[in-house]
Symmetry: D2
Subunit: 349 residues, 4 copies
């Protein structure tokens, strides 16, 4: 950490600041320039120290030169995290495709969609049982019944399941029924939820807050890891910008950046990331080309009548199947395997 | 609601869309132009309909011409909401000032700050017992003990108290000790928390999400109102932009806009809204000039040693007192009362 | 166009507004709902009308349902624009690669880089002679001398050349020396410059303003097209967001969106779009996967000593060559040709 | 300046970087920590050096601790700049009000509006003769004729005049007719225009680019100052954010920030900053409370028929006059004078 003071700071104040720093069992190293006095801090500073120093009068700038997250950082864990669930590996050589409707609506709907995801070559069935909705009068999901329907459809067709959990008190019931739990963009900094997810071992797909920096995103993952759950995937799902044409701006540079900074698998969500069906295919392929470990894609048999209004970004089943065929050709160029036939016949462990 | 189709849409599809619309007990009114076919919807459409129509193939645009929130809207409640707590009125003729530290640290600290807030003429004591923190290794607050310390300090000095609640399961205990509950910016769309707050009558100060639109903000308030709690204040606390110099960009236009769209009181937070002590005073005064019903301002007796690192945006006690003196002159120009002497002597009901 | 009034608007005012509309030789079609009165406008409205109506008292909203640009729109020009320069086609079946340094520095530097671009398989040599710089004390480019050096290097090695033009008075001299003129992000709405570029036939690569919407971007292209120059390429080069880690956020969805809305070729700039060397390769490949017609990539033989400070985002020559090798495999999956050997031997027409 | 390397950097490379630094006639001071090596640079570094160092391999971060602008900085010019034109002082004790239409339309229109601005107590008449327009088919202004009309109206009624100049070649003719030249938001980084404005002495009102940081804004001002023209005013006019309700987000914190960093007068534009008539009054007053040196406000006698479509944000003459009455009461609370009667009778020097 580096602390910058004006060169006009009184010597006495400089010494006071040094004393405050050295209380934290690190060494301060002063260097005086023409305009500024620079104090370098040598040793492992605790994360609070930067915040503390920033508020001292006389201090103009505090520059952190080490990261505030550790367990999520590639510095502390150089090799990739590979998450293994019932024989499926996420974060390894295989490209992972999660597909399904925005919301579970009925046993028939989710069974039929599961069948289509499986035969197309996907490995994970997505579907929401509890839905976060901007206004209180919108459809809020079918609840625990939906979890049961998904579990049944997943088991029947040989797919893992992923569903969103919105509040700490529902973590246990969601983990009972689903193989992977999703934290939505609005909950990326719901710290009580993150802490609770740290106490279990079920894999978590953490979506980036729609206005979160990479640093905040990795700090949110750190909450789960620090609690003791190492099975975290990061999901880029678009950020909020001034552009009104797309629902969000899918930030594909996040994929290589997060893979450089962290060892956790990175999944891309081109459906929420664009909000428009015609953009899902090009952005899904671009995600693979940017190095994504997997994709989460909305697909619906009858988007005209989807209950959540997200049908507008859902692929039709034949589009979904064609896209996975294309992944098969594309993935090897990026060091990944994706074998639709093998996956269509794979049985969960 | 207005639905826009390309003029190339097949007549059959147009009729299909009309049938879908009219299932919702509203009337569809078709008008054909050169480029586009426009369907006007007449009658009270349910809020899901727009989302549903947007996803139909053939539909290019859906324009909502009524708002999706009702109870929060001035159309449904033309006169201002005035929230009354123990004799203090928020949202009426009086300017409300909430002051205090970012976090409660000790009984002595909060007692001394309460004394200073009261003698300066503030009406509400702010302080965090549970702190939302970006990283898991930062100070997370002193918990329920802090709530007790605040309650005691508030009662002793004749101040209302406000504290942040972060998760549904803590709502009851926070409401037992504090007069007003605050929902932080990261929780504006924590819908389970909002729903829980709708079930009680304790006033709620809802902070705007740092990337929330006005429409999303009012929809979040609608969750609490729809649950049965009419005592909601809106708080502008800065939005995230590309500017790195300030912590956030305080959007003061939000004050008159929210007061036009809604009847709820609007409070400004120039401390978090700027993140810099030297900007708190000008932005606090600008907030009053923009018509704010109140302010929430961080103040600390020893910002150098504040435990949260937010000391950098906390006023010193004498700055706080001078600012309230200035409010006394400024408020009457904007139709508000603010009498520091009277308030310093006021006893809670 | 659709005009929305409150249903409380007096009948007299509604009639007044209709009269204002019908002065513009279009028909107004009134439809009254419960909350709102909707006026549909039938016929070709002139672009000023929307702006005019928006300001009338009583008018709540004006919804444009046709686009304000015409010549740039795919509606008016369904097939792709293919720009042909000295035997090179941009916007057709071939992927176009433009490579070179941020700034031309010396005859030796640009000659050596041209040789490397050519042997790697690129078709266009980029290089700045006039540099737009945030502060007045930074290196501003070598001027007309640089144009001459580039022309010579391009001719010698069989490459087209592209260079930035910053002001109307330099358009003619730049067009004398370079094959393609570039408009930088800060000049996207320098309307005098755009107008001047409309008067010549030299192809123009128009960079998206770093905070421009798609609509504004296409309107800027419209200025050039409307002046009589049909040879316009659109270039996505990253937008400004809250994320500090990357220099810009490269918005790859812009590629398919602009190709849907317009017939003009779309080029991606992963160098400025990320500002970091290690991200250029993944984002370049992702651009091809998103459907880009071409790429513009910074490459430098000695980035440590580049004069502009953009070395940090420049590829080394061997990285550049490997990337073009990879394009060769990738392009055919996206319906494009890219043959490095053939291009290395191609002679300009 | 501080340069940060990984502690894993080879000693040889560290020495190489030191040699590169010391070529620039400054001293490098190395300090080694556990994770990082920090090189402090002592002496006046030229502005290019930071850009240069950032691109060296091994360098992780370069932290500028001095500003890149000088003449615009308060460090180099501690007292406020006061611009004096024909007896009017801008940036001193007096609040300056500039009012008028978006565009000059006819001699009668501008004469009548000038009369109203003067009798209300304004000091400057604004009006556009050349208009920057997003699309090429919109009204582009009346040109030099408009300049003449404004000059005549200003002289007749005793008002200074301000008008926008869009391109270097029009600077001289605009300066011949107008007292103050305005650079619009889209031209804040039109460096050729800024350089040209540096060669004259006519005061310049420089509008902040709608996505420009404070640092970029002050660097743009530096271009004009460095050319030799000290008469620059900074104008905050709203930035682009994700919020669609207002045309821009007026960033009032910019006022105290720019006044802290710079000695130049700061003017606020609540008309473009909000784009809505009903928000102009509260945001104008908030601007005064935030410490603005002046305001530029659109006013029109017949906004229904304004030719630019900006009528929607123009005040009616009576609103404008009432607002100036209110400034008279408000200004003294912020250390400013504003005397409408005196100003209505003032004669230009």
């Amino acid at each position: 950490m580096i602390v910058i003071l004006s060169s006009k700071t009184a010597e006495e104040r400089v010494q006071e600041i040094v004393r405050i720093i050295e209380k934290h069992e690190v060494k301060a190293h002063i260097s005086k320039g023409e305009d500024k006095i620079v104090i370098g801090i040598i040793g492992k500073a605790d994360p609070m120290l930067a915040e503390h120093l920033r508020q001292l009068s006389g201090v103009e700038q505090v520059v952190k030169i080490s990261k505030s997250y550790k367990l999520a950082s590639r510095d502390f864990h150089p090799s990739n995290t590979v998450i293994r669930v019932k024989g499926v590996e996420i974060g390894g050589d295989e490209l992972t495709v999660m597909g399904g409707p925005c919301a579970v609506e009925s046993p028939e709907q989710i069974d039929e969609i599961a069948r289509l995801v499986k035969t197309a070559g996907g490995q994970v069935l997505r579907g929401g049982a509890f839905k976060p909705r901007t206004g209180p009068y919108s459809f809020q999901g079918v609840g625990v019944e939906g979890l049961k329907m998904m579990k049944e459809a997943g088991e029947k067709h040989g797919l893992l399941t992923i569903t969103e959990v919105m509040t700490p008190e529902y973590v246990d019931v969601c983990a009972e029924y689903a193989d992977i739990l999703q934290v939505g963009t609005r909950n990326m900094q719901n710290f009580d939820l993150l802490r609770k997810l740290g106490t279990i071992q079920t894999p978590v797909l953490l979506k980036r807050g729609f206005s979160a920096t990479y640093d905040e995103f990795l700090n949110a993952a750190e909450y789960i890891l620090a609690g003791g759950n190492p099975n975290v995937m990061l999901c880029e799902r678009g950020i909020r910008t001034f552009e009104p044409y797309t629902r969000n701006t899918l930030d594909l540079a996040a994929i290589p950046v997060l893979q450089n900074l962290s060892h956790l698998p990175v999944i891309s969500d081109p459906s929420h990331g664009t909000g428009r069906r015609e953009l899902v295919e090009p952005m899904a392929k671009a995600s693979v080309a940017a190095g994504a470990n997997g994709l989460i894609i909305e697909m619906h048999t009858d988007p005209d009548n989807s209950m959540t209004g997200d049908g507008v970004q859902s692929l039709f089943p034949d589009q979904f199947a064609r896209l996975l065929q294309d992944f098969e050709k594309l993935a090897p160029l990026f060091g990944k395997r994706f074998d639709t036939k093998k996956q269509a016949q794979a049985v969960l462990a």
